[in-house]
Symmetry: C2
Subunit: 551 residues, 2 copies
């Protein structure tokens, strides 16, 4: 049985789920689903790789071995070294390997790529450890975000790519009546790949944010060069190794997907991005480099930069479940998610609840108390916060008191019992007036929460909408029990192309975006120009070319 | 019956045809299909409008009446005046009108727009005359290109737009198993329009090239400002009037589609294009202005600029039908089509035919003789050539003898018996060596044919491919009886994202691109960044935004 046939049912289910947008997951998120031996094997593999050369990557062109990752939990070097390959070689290899890859049919490509996900599945636990000790996420978050959730996002890209690639017929007869006779043409259409793709990763979500672009470019026939952040190489190196293995197993050139590793001191990203033969660029990271990427001439770009995410508090049934949910959304991975809320807009007149009105001050105090309760909780705190990937983030939290607002909650001192050296930062909550726009109009990456006192909900929405338009937003949370207000918020935030999570309570948070159902980033505001995974995300990677002939 | 129900079957047939890419036409191309009275009524309407204010456009904000069209057939001013509205007013009107248009459902928008095409159908003959006396096309070409063929292209945009807009559900329940319980979310998705669209027209195909962008932006919920070339306003003014009538009939603001008329001396295109509130730009015209449009920051652009179209001669069964076909493709509307062939690559060793080999010289002489025969044919010549829209085109033909090649055929002196003052230019054929790349590497708009002597077919293909990559190409013609060569040509030209018309003979030419089947311009080479009508062409005009709520 060929790989396409083997995976056909899953592919068809994924295509169906994409178009119904109901719940679907090909890769279970619970670690127990992967068998008793998997956790131990994954940890052993992680320990073996530490202070070692990373195995399984095509290293025929390596000029040396480099790597400088540090664990946010131990402050120790991981010591993993990866093949260093120069830019000209990488691009030349991609061009050469791409010649065969473009000839593979969409079904062949989809089958092979789905097989690479099966190989990745066997390494989810290793990926989890590698992610934990590069990003600072907790192990369970690392496992899920870089493992099953990422694999589902990859499958989503394969499935929508396959669907679009096979959307028009390969051949058709076109017969035009001309009165007394007919003109007949034999026509054919081909989705021709754009050319070499470059996928530039970030340090906080090295797999989840890179894998859709990798698989979207690959399924549409483009060779890919994966350029991870030098601080988070290991997790995505495993994915690239799995893809190379699947290629080699099937007699294809592993250079169809290459890993480009660099160091902080000798970065290669610009050289790659500006190379004339690189046609597609996927990018996750800061806005200023993202703006540079978007403006590169002659490139088709897919960016996720940053946004300022807002929460609009209008009215609730009961405040406790709301703030339990919101505190978790704020604290999870210390606000180092692009989807984490930053600005909480609260009307000066307070908010309505089923148990009576709460004043503005009461709401702010309750929010601070809830966050404090969560992060100081002996069983919950350290695991929710994880560790800080970049020391600059911790500095930013420390300096939040100097922003010009009133500090409502100082960052609590939280210890991780498992990792005494973990770099930890609990959220700081700062109250600012709505007139101090410059304070809350910038993304302040990390666990920094700005409570903004507004005139009323209309004012809150106006500020959130305008901010999303000007600075971008990936998510927005809103709490209201009033149907008209709900409709108003939805319509206003749509003008800023920002999705709204309404009345989130329980074990689901505004930070989370599910494959097959939630479009991650809309592509309509400055937070990014692409969306996981809408039709454009795959269609822009190839060109329909039709030939025809008189018959 | 509402408009959507009225047109539903046609819409569904169009969507089906798009995905099967078989022959489909909702608007018959034969003038007789429109009844006995239609031709006379159309001509009467044309005569009434000449030297008059153009009626039927919303002119409440007109600051004056302007118009400076000249007939290429009579050299007389048409004398038609259109409302002049200033840029700030146009953009403000669009923003205001757009607020209601975005609230109309995809079905409401599609139904209303299809109704506007029915109104346009009733004016196909007037559109034909208006097109003839602005572009210089023959009447029958004007009728077909600006009438039924354009309306079919509009329907194609409506149909694919409607299909994409309704591709994902408006609402769905998402239920995730969490072990002992399920999390349930109510989700909704909306295709949110990008914002005001600007459609910039050209002087040679004022309707056919503008109508896909107009309808694509409208069906996806964006208000549109149509900015025609000042030399060819009348034909598209009729279309805008039909759309405004359909809007008014249905209680909607006619400013959802506005006409922005300017003059050569006081152009407004840049002011419109650079306006912050203009988000989408469709453009047809010269490459340098097109490059400016593509580089405008913050705009989503759809361009058709220009290309250098090649014909590759390798081998034929019989040369006569080939050159009859090719001569017509060259001469039709005096090469003023973006799809017209310019460079004819012929191997120095000549070409194989079923009747024996022909030397290079014989092939060139036969081509020249065929063109001469066609353009001097008393019944065929003048009608095929039509008239020259822009005197600069005629100058270019006159100067072709100075290009540095060897003139094989001087432009014949052709008279149009109906229009003594018609500006006419028959093709000039110039022979150049393959080493003189600078001569044949530029688009030389108009009836200028360059015969390029190459080493062999491989050399021809290499030149055609590289030219298409560097300068763009919209079409390519190739003649070969060898299956391997055919495959090689297809693959090489695919690398330049250029469609190939193989072995065209009979009443179908490489210049023609049929709605619902042929992608016009691929969007993959410098000839343009968009394609009539691939999924990207409509998808880029709106953004998927999803909201969700815990239930």
């Amino acid at each position: 049985m060929n790989l396409f046939e083997k995976h056909k049912e899953t592919l068809q289910n994924a295509i169906k789920a994409i178009h119904e947008r109901t719940f679907f997951a090909a890769f279970p998120e619970h670690p127990k689903a992967y068998g008793e031996d998997a956790p131990g094997q994954g940890e052993a593999q992680f320990q073996q790789t530490r202070n070692n050369h990373f195995g399984g990557l095509n290293d025929k062109d390596a000029t040396g071995w480099i790597g400088e990752e540090t664990s946010p939990y131990t402050q120790e070097k991981l010591g993993v070294k990866y093949p260093e390959i120069d830019v000209a070689t990488l691009v030349r290899n991609a061009g050469k390997a791409g010649k065969n890859w473009r000839k593979a049919s969409p079904a062949e490509r989809a089958g092979l790529l789905m097989d690479s996900l099966d190989k990745m599945k066997d390494r989810f636990f290793e990926i989890g450890h590698a992610t934990q000790h590069t990003t600072g996420q907790s192990f369970i978050m690392s496992f899920q975000a870089s493992g099953p959730h990422a694999a589902d996002r990859a499958l989503e890209a394969i499935a929508l790519g396959y669907h679009e690639l096979t959307r028009f017929p390969e051949n058709a007869e076109w017969e035009k009546p001309m009165g007394k006779f007919n003109v007949k043409l034999k026509k054919s259409w081909k989705p021709v790949p754009r050319g070499t793709g470059l996928v530039i990763g970030c340090s906080t979500f090295p797999v989840w944010n890179s894998i859709p672009g990798i698989y979207a470019s690959l399924v549409t026939g483009n060779p890919v060069i994966v350029k991870p952040h030098p601080g988070a190489v290991y997790p995505i190196a495993i994915v690239v190794a799995c893809i190379q293995q699947a290629l080699t197993d099937n007699g294809l050139d592993p250079d169809i997907c290459q890993l480009a590793v660099d160091t902080h001191g000798n970065p290669v990203t610009k050289k790659l991005a500006e190379h004339n033969n690189v046609k597609l660029i996927d990018y996750t990271g800061g806005p200023s480099f993202g703006d540079y990427i978007e403006k590169l001439p002659g490139k088709i770009t897919f960016t996720e930069k940053a946004g300022v995410n807002s929460v609009i508090l209008d009215s609730v049934n009961s405040l406790d479940p709301v703030f339990q949910n919101l505190s978790f959304a704020i604290s999870l991975y210390s606000g180092q998610m692009c989807t984490a809320p930053q600005n909480i807009f609260i009307p000066e007149g307070g908010i309505k609840t089923a148990e009576g009105n709460l004043t503005y001050e009461e709401v702010v105090q309750k929010l601070a108390a809830n966050i404090k309760g969560l992060v100081t909780h002996p069983k919950m705190g350290a695991g929710t916060l994880g560790a800080i990937q970049n020391p600059a983030t911790r500095e930013r939290v420390a300096h939040a008191k100097n922003l010009g607002g009133h500090v409502v909650l100082e960052p609590e001192d939280v210890q991780n019992p498992e990792f005494a050296n973990a770099l930890i930062s609990a959220p700081v909550v700062v109250e600012v007036d709505a007139t101090n726009k410059d304070i809350f109009s910038e993304e302040r990456f990390g666990p920094i929460v700005l409570v903004v006192k507004t005139k009323d909900t209309g004012h809150s929405v106006e500020l959130a909408r305008d901010l999303a338009m000007e600075k971008g937003a990936i998510t927005c949370g809103a709490y209201t029990t009033d149907a008209g207000t709900r409709e108003m918020i939805a319509e206003e935030m749509e003008q800023a192309f920002t999705p709204v999570s309404f009345n989130m309570v329980g074990p689901i948070w505004m930070n989370q975006n599910a494959a097959f159902s939630d479009f991650h980033v809309t592509g309509g505001n400055p937070a990014g120009n692409a969306s996981f995974t809408n039709p454009e995300y795959v269609n822009k990677r190839f060109v329909w070319v039709g030939h025809r002939e008189v018959i």
